[in-house]
Symmetry: C2
Subunit: 210 residues, 2 copies
DNA sequence: CCAAAAGTGTTGGCTGTACACCCATGT
DNA sequence: ACATGGGTGTACAGCCAACACTTTTGG
């Protein structure tokens, strides 16, 4: 009856020294040509939503096996009846290879210092941030933001960046260890560091709900 | 590029003496003609997703101001590339007027005794049920399942039907009252009842998150 | 008088939070 | 030697779960 354009959008989060960041690209077409926006695009023929989101994520970051989850479906972003299915992804900055083959390069922006965005992409990012914060408390999503091996301090800094508040070190360690989602690797990190630190890894590198 | 059919589906829940129920209709078109399925249909031109879901809900139940929330968007329900945006709704059985003008009448089914369903509608219902159970704990969604005035026992039976387990009466009352989402009306229910019971109402008849 | 549902408090365990010091290493 | 970050325990408060009896009414 009324076929519609169906697009996917991907909110790609990472955590770096500068805190929680989102990946944005410059739009190459009207409307909002040259404005910053979330990566996204129309579905290819025969492609599922999940596949389209994975493809977009891969295009932008070169990553495939990361946390990627459907967020929400918007229908009034442009006023021409298009439907946009938003996903959110969490990536380890040190593992990503940003797309280079473009007029404008994609760029990371701190979550609290975003440029003006196309459409209502601010709403989409807000929504993603709320979900991320909620999930942090009852899942192991952070596995996707860190390298295979990491220290408890790194994990804590990651949580702090996402929640944008500081956490008590002893309580944090107690809580995380009691969840039994990570285990010590036996190795220690000592590169350019004051005191060597125990390295841990996630028992499962896929989403687990407590 | 690749326009798709976009449909909405609505999982309509209610609670009655028989427990938690879902409203199903008979499909009138192929594929799965005459199979039980969730109410739904394509978007009208110019219509948003929310509007389409509200329209479908109104068609089936005559209700408009009830809890209705987007659930998830499915893309492989039929294999022809259609996209289905699922919503879930909570209705007070005593306020609904089921659609009558049809070859096959819509019908309530207990959640644990569903007939074979078209497409993957079982998955959609499961998903809705999980969300409903989760929301019950940190929101006031039950407002939409009960009449304006109700007793604490009715509210408890509603919770029990959704969670399908029994709850301790004293703990339930303590917890609900301490949330301060309901207030006594001053009136009592006494119609055909053993001992008269205090009537309460929700302070807000719209979604509130604790 | 009996059946049915309404109403009402206390206790123990668990969980989350607040809080401060010592240690190993690099510079 | 000092600066930096790693690592560790305890005490209190709030929350949730378990648990049983009395009251009011209708039949």
């Amino acid at each position: 009856m009324t076929p519609r354009q169906v697009a996917v959008l991907v909110v790609i989060f990472t955590v770096s020294a500068g805190g929680l960041q989102v990946l944005l690209i410059r739009r190459s077409a009207e409307p909002f040509k040259d404005a910053w926006s979330l990566p996204g695009g129309l579905l290819n023929p025969g492609e599922s939503l999940q596949e389209a989101a994975e493809r977009k994520l891969d295009d932008e970051t070169g990553l495939t096996e990361v946390f990627l989850e459907q967020l929400y479906t918007f229908s009034d972003l442009d006023k021409r009846g298009a439907v946009a299915v938003a996903y959110f992804a969490l990536v380890d900055l040190s593992a990503t290879h940003l797309a280079r083959r473009r007029e404008w390069l994609p760029k990371w922006f701190p979550i609290d210092d975003l440029p003006p965005l196309a459409f209502d992409n601010d709403d989409v990012i807000d929504y993603g941030l709320r979900r991320l914060r909620a999930k942090l408390d009852y899942s192991n999503v952070a596995y996707s933001l860190l390298p295979e091996e990491f220290t408890l301090s790194q994990l804590q800094r990651t949580h702090e960046a996402i929640l944008s508040r500081s956490l008590d070190k002893r309580n944090f360690r107690k809580r995380i260890l009691s969840l039994e989602i990570i285990e010590p690797t036996g190795r220690v990190a000592s590169e350019g560091r004051h005191r060597p630190a125990q390295l841990y890894r996630f028992r499962a590198r896929k989403p687990v709900v407590f």
